[in-house]
């Protein structure tokens, strides 16, 4: 289904700007749990749909923000291409799969391949947005290399709609690997971390890693000869139906995530030793650079430990105690954030307070 409702969105935003009415931006609502709860009048982007252009030989796709990720991925699949950042859909079943391109970019959500191919922001080539003054703007383009003007398109990644409503996005896409295999090693976390670092250093075609319940899972992707020779080098049990496993990790339908405990997302240097002062269970991804922690430890303690480790902690899901979802910004950074917000949304009408209370 293809439909351009940008004029409708713009006119709703003009009213909101004029009347200084806060808007909550929503497309598929698949990431409703992320950040502070939003209020304000609903700005529904979900009907703004459709792939605007896709040229496999150019490695570029452009689609409207409300386009379902599933539609994009199946279109790419027909030309044996993919979104290399492997975005999560957070859907229990295909019929409940409402994740959209706009939401994915707005939250800069990337999956298991992120540590080896790049994040959503790394594949953004350009976008159109409507800023908080209800002005339609276009940044970047459809070419891989473009350094004209400030990189406002990448700035939209992870800004959660607070700087502009994304209308459409152009992404770089990549060929799907010819073959993939997932191997399992039984080992302790220290051995697992050592392996994850060593294998990547050896130029092996690693495309995902995960460690949970004393098992290290490693996915190899590439052409046949490359994957086969890497498999011979590192050994381990071959996992059947590995696609399911990675999907469960990516979409958080794995048993690990089925807890009522707060689920913390810890981002830190990949070689940071296990954080032994924190109780709870941990699932490792991205070669150790991403750790999911299911725990009822107090937020202050978690954040202090992450501060000391040079990382940051996001309360991703099950925010029972109304804890600030995102890691605190330094006073200098907070002030620059407020000024950037002001530059795009002077009346503070776009998803106000959904990242930080201060803007």
């Amino acid at each position: 289904m293809s439909k351009d409702i940008s004029s409708l969105l713009q006119s709703q935003m003009q009213d909101a700007y004029k009347n200084k009415t806060p808007l909550q931006i929503r497309a598929g609502n698949s990431k409703h749990f992320y950040g502070y709860p939003k209020d304000g009048n609903l700005l529904d982007v979900s009907a703004h749909q459709g792939i605007i252009s896709y040229e496999p030989t150019e490695l570029v796709i452009t689609a409207r923000a409300g386009t379902r990720l599933a539609e994009i991925e199946s279109t790419l699949n027909e030309s044996k291409q993919m979104l290399a950042f492997e975005p999560p859909h957070f859907a229990a079943t295909a019929t409940l799969d409402n994740a959209t391109l706009g939401g994915t970019i707005a939250c800069n959500m990337s999956g298991p391949r992120r540590a080896y191919s790049g994040a959503a922001r790394d594949f953004v080539l350009g976008c159109s947005i409507i800023n908080g003054k209800a002005e339609k703007l276009k940044f970047g383009g459809q070419v891989m290399k473009n350094v004209a003007g400030y990189d406002a398109s990448r700035l939209m990644c992870g800004a959660m709609g607070t700087l502009g409503v994304i209308l459409d996005v152009s992404l770089k896409v990549l060929p799907k690997p010819e073959t993939e295999i997932t191997l399992r090693h039984q080992c302790d976390i220290h051995q697992a971390m050592d392996n994850m670092h060593q294998w990547v250093k050896q130029s092996l075609p690693v495309s995902a890693t995960s460690y949970i319940n004393s098992q290290l899972f490693i996915r190899l992707s590439g052409n046949h000869s490359s994957v086969t020779s890497a498999q011979q080098k590192i050994g381990g049990d071959v996992i059947d139906n590995a696609g399911n496993f990675w999907q469960q990790i990516k979409d958080q339908s794995h048993d690990f995530f089925k807890s009522d405990n707060p689920i913390w997302r810890l981002s830190l240097a990949s070689n940071t030793p296990p954080l032994e002062n924190l109780n709870g269970s941990t699932l490792y991804e991205w070669g150790g650079a991403l750790r999911w922690l299911s725990t009822d430890e107090p937020a202050e303690k978690i954040r202090e430990i992450l501060n000391n480790a040079g990382g940051h902690a996001t309360l991703f899901k099950n925010n029972k105690f109304k804890t600030p979802p995102f890691h605190q910004l330094s006073p200098g950074m907070l002030s620059i954030h407020k000024q950037v917000k002001q530059a795009f949304d002077p009346e503070n009408i776009l998803n106000p307070g959904c990242m930080y209370k201060e803007f």
Binding site: K80, E135, V143, V147, A148, E178, N223, H224, A230, A269
Partner: protein
């Protein structure tokens, strides 16, 4: 260039003596240059057609000194142009008459290398190639490799979001850095990015990358390092037609292969490069493609054979795989020496940097040939073919009156052509002073206004590299008028482009 661009703050006259004495209070006297003979080495960057002297050049070597300098400039309303090695090709580091030039050249220490996490924390004045050299002992390297990598510094690379010949597979600077430290115009030290793969809040790391010194001064960079590929191979393919070579590029990518480098040269460049470095190029070819593949041995062997087949099927007249490392280096030598090689056959050349969606290559090449005939100026084409980044080199002679102006006009038309087909006026060299007018073609007033608002968020007084990268709407209005009148300039006394 107009006077307005070179001294945007002319209204507030600056007390030079006061400024110098205050700077000398912050820095040792030999780190504050203000005599004309000391200033001349800094009068231009890699775009030497534009020259100008600053009020003073400062050479700090401590972050606290940079903070104090910027605080002082903020207090006295003095413009600041930051400079790395000065290899930039768009005049981004061109000094301003009533501003200071802040050289980061003394910041050349590699602070820390972490071979496990594969990152290196370096000062901004560290040369691009020096990073790869320092981490070679760990079999790692830093991927972005602009042609000037032997001289250019990482601080400048971040400010320009530099590319190189391996962008298609390994990305630009923005994809290969993890954290930077900047000093704001108010002297505050901010850390953008983090020690992990992401950081809380807005992606200011991306915003600062390529911001051409307009938002902050970069004082530290943490770069990501990659394992050196186990195997690297290069194929040279000759074509009797430039368009066929362009189609071959699409065919390689359609086959699911992402080469590490995919470069194209046209006849004029091939001939110049061959005469210069004797790389063994077929000088009768209309175009050659260099296709580099890297990865583990098994992968590269399989891909090389696939690419050979594709090139044959795409009508290549000659396909050669470098038989050893020496030949691989020789194949590249011609490409890497392409610019100086062209410099040997023409008194001067002007290097453009547009990008286009690759499918429009035939149309753009045709239009460029027509323009070349119209302006009676030859063009040599060097092309990062994989990612659509064109480097047309316009050959001219600056000693012939009016030829530089014609060249600049021709160059401007090429860039406008790139925008017309959905591309960009600059793929990797930046806007700087050079392409400031073409920004008016690339962006509409609303986008430019948004850029100015971003600038204001970081630099309310407009003191960091003012007048570069983002034109004022006033300037665009004037430039637009130039278009309407088909070259009948409203102020012919002013230098343009």
């Amino acid at each position: 260039m107009t006077e307005e661009l070179l001294s945007p703050h002319m209204t507030s006259s600056i007390n030079k003596q006061l400024l110098i004495s205050r700077l000398e209070y912050i820095l040792p006297a030999d780190s504050v240059l203000h005599q004309p003979e000391d200033l001349h080495p800094y009068e231009c960057d890699g775009l030497s057609a534009y020259r100008n002297l600053p009020l003073a050049v400062v050479l700090p070597d401590k972050i606290t000194q940079v903070q104090a300098i910027l605080k002082l400039c903020f207090e006295l309303d003095v413009a600041v142009v930051a400079r790395g090695a000065g290899t930039g090709l768009s005049g981004g580091a061109l000094p301003l008459s009533d501003g200071i030039l802040l050289s980061l050249a003394k910041f050349k220490n590699i602070i820390d290398i972490d071979p496990i996490q594969r990152v290196a924390r370096v000062q901004p004045g560290v040369r691009n190639l020096a990073i790869s050299e320092a981490v070679e002992q760990y079999d790692l390297y830093y991927a972005p490799d602009p042609s000037s990598q032997i001289a250019c510094t990482i601080g400048g690379n971040v400010a320009e979001n530099s590319g190189g010949v391996h962008c298609l597979k390994y990305g630009l600077t923005v994809h290969n850095i993890q954290q930077i430290k900047i000093i704001t115009i108010e002297g505050e030290l901010l850390t953008l990015g983090g020690s992990g793969l992401d950081s809380p809040g807005y992606d200011l790391l991306a915003l600062l990358t390529g911001s051409e010194g307009m938002l902050g001064v970069i004082v530290e960079v943490t770069v990501k390092l990659l394992p050196k590929p186990e195997s690297t191979q290069v194929i040279l393919a000759a074509f009797d037609d430039l368009i066929k070579a362009g189609l071959a590029v699409g065919n390689i990518i359609s086959a699911g292969i992402i080469p590490a480098g995919l470069e194209m040269m046209d006849k004029l460049t091939i001939k110049a490069a061959e005469d210069f470095v004797h790389a063994g190029y077929p000088t009768d070819a209309a175009a050659i493609l260099l296709c580099e593949l890297d990865g583990n041995k098994a992968e590269v062997a399989e891909n090389i054979s696939n690419v050979q087949t594709i090139l044959d099927e795409s009508g290549a007249t000659d396909v050669r795989v470098a038989k050893d490392e020496t030949e691989r280096v020789t194949f590249w030598k011609g490409r890497k020496a392409a610019f100086p090689a062209v410099g040997r056959i023409s008194p001067d050349y002007y290097c453009m940097d547009g990008t286009i969606p690759r499918k429009h290559l035939p149309q753009v090449l045709k239009a460029m040939a027509d323009l070349s005939a119209e302006y009676n100026l030859p063009v040599a084409n060097v092309f990062h073919a994989g990612d659509g980044n064109l480097h047309p080199l316009i050959l001219y002679d600056a000693n012939i009156p009016g030829e530089l102006e014609r060249t600049e006009e021709f160059g401007g038309k090429i860039l406008e052509l790139c925008v017309e087909v959905g591309g960009s006026i600059t793929g990797e060299h930046g806007v700087g002073m050079e392409k400031i007018n073409q920004m008016c073609v690339q962006f509409a007033a609303l986008e430019l206004t948004q850029f100015h608002a971003i600038k204001k968020a970081f630099d309310e007084k407009g003191l960091l590299n003012p007048g570069k990268a983002v034109p004022t709407l006033h300037r665009c209005a004037e430039f637009g008028a130039m278009h309407v009148h088909h070259g009948e300039l409203s102020h012919p006394e002013l230098e343009r482009f």
